[in-house]
Symmetry: C2
């Protein structure tokens, strides 16, 4: 594969080249990985920067409808929109949250929109790296806005937050219990909370929920990366395309403030360092899955379980083999 040519294709905005490039970074093969590293270096030279929006919400909250409506609004403003997903469960459940493009029917037909389901990997670390590199590829391909979607499972919000400039949390209208339902850690990641389905019968409930969250957000400690009034809670109706302009306005306000104060660039630098650390850790642990170490560990584990060898001794044997093998 000619990596230079593939990189040129990506940077020139060729959709097929972008899709092929993402397939390459998703591959687990060692030779593909080496090529992927070169590819990422090449496309990095474009120097292009998109706005990366993380988006989380539990199933049923209306994420697909939101992406469809919000994405189409951006397209009409003349922007190029990419949609990616972090969904470590997709390989197990057999269906990615983005696998069914019919859920974003209009957007998926737009030439200026690019939708890519989550890579099929059960291991979050693998999904994380591949999605992060797909984000950088879309950025180099000239997309202005990159939406990175995830469902509220385990660590996937952290992963999305570490590759996003802004993090949006989508919620459904609901009672005070909702406050308990969302994990504290996730709420602390959110820059803007959007209470969806603020239409018809649910509108009063959505307003109440929004007020509850606005109150809860005021209790959180002020973060240096937030101007006055942020994090913020707002109501939207993705279905009726209501409140999306206001949401976009606030996204722009926050982005501009962070750019002017240096927080935007600082966060990107911190994120790059974070992923550097993660890549090293994953690379180290991946060595344990390879032969001859894999068999050695399996044999030692049996002796440890049988009490014939202490965990410390067995681990020292593995680490020695790793260093001198």
């Amino acid at each position: 594969m000619d990596i230079k040519q593939l990189a040129d294709g990506v940077v020139s905005g060729n959709r097929r080249a972008l899709a092929r490039a993402i397939t390459l970074v998703e591959s687990a093969r060692a030779d593909h990985r080496a090529q992927a590293i070169l590819l990422m270096e090449e496309v990095g030279k474009s120097g292009r920067q998109a706005l990366r929006l993380g988006l989380s919400g539990t199933p049923g909250v209306g994420k697909s409808t939101f992406i469809e409506s919000f994405g189409m609004m951006m397209i009409r403003e003349g922007k190029k929109v990419a949609v990616l997903a972090v969904d470590p469960s997709s390989a197990r459940s057999g269906g990615s949250i983005l696998g069914d493009k019919t859920r974003m029917e209009e957007l998926s037909r737009e030439p200026n929109a690019f939708i890519r389901p989550s890579p099929s990997q059960t291991e979050l670390g693998g999904v994380a790296r591949r999605t992060r590199e797909a984000v950088a590829l879309c950025e180099a391909a000239g997309y202005d806005l990159i939406l990175i979607e995830t469902v509220g499972v385990g660590q996937s919000e952290t992963v999305v937050s570490e590759m996003s400039d802004l993090f949006l949390l989508l919620l459904a209208p609901g009672g005070g219990d909702e406050l308990q339902g969302v994990k504290r850690g996730i709420m602390e990641m959110a820059d803007i909370i959007l209470v969806n389905k603020a239409d018809g019968d649910l509108k009063p409930a959505a307003n109440r929920t929004c007020a509850d969250y606005a109150g809860a957000l005021r209790l959180l400690r002020k973060r240096p990366q937030d101007p006055e009034g942020f994090p913020k809670a707002m109501t939207v109706s993705a279905l009726q395309v209501d409140g999306l302009k206001e949401a976009w306005g606030e996204i722009q306000n926050l982005t501009e403030w962070r750019r002017e104060t240096g927080h935007f660039d600082q966060r990107r630098a911190e994120q790059a360092e974070y992923w550097f650390g993660q890549e090293i850790r994953q690379g180290l642990l991946a060595q344990l899955q390879k032969e001859p170490l894999k068999s050695m560990i399996s044999d030692l584990a049996k002796q440890v379980a049988a009490g014939q060898l202490t965990p410390g001794h067995a681990a020292a044997d593995v680490l020695n083999a790793l260093q001198h093998g």
Copy 2:
């Protein structure tokens, strides 16, 4: 240091030898680590087994009073009791949860009791390994009962659960909100929930709380390692030494059942395998903290943060250096 002699001292029940042995396994020095591995092999030959009781509870719940009362009851039954702690915050906060022996005044004066504060380490992985080896040393030294205490912070409950035969959760009397306050994961680890302070004015509240938790426990999925009626919620008063005999009775019932059904040994085998895996992971990550790798990583991190190098490329450089350096 003569490791064979030290091991003999530990196994013969010499308290000073035990204390020195724990100091050795707590050391981070490479030569000490090599000696510690030999020591653990040596003492492992004793084949002695204690009952390892994990104990968790948030500050103020009366953990020290419980350990004092419960420990003294065991001493009077002719048992030797060791008390250890997993407290990764102790180095930061400047005071271990077990540092102040005056909180267990009677027990700390008993010749058949051995109390050791948490090792001073900010890193939970390090605390975990050292405590796990201290548990095995106390076991070889002939202690019948080993209490491993922790506070409800982050991952420390998992660590204690992975080195305990039974896991006790100590709670204070409180309203329905308490049910929310205890993390779901911790409740699922508990074999017996003890609602403390069931005395005086608080007795009715303790009974209510106990009933609430008993109800909540019934909602959890049945685990194979539990006989009928477990996990169980009970009230105790550590201060008035009330309900402790009943608690000990249930601890014995559960232990006997697990021994007869093979779950006791199976769990120990699984735990040994778990710690083997943890030791390998920690050993790998520890290599990153050593020179020349440490400086290399620090230099590369600056380039990554500045956008001069992709995280993937920089990580590949580190992994190469690790393998061929």
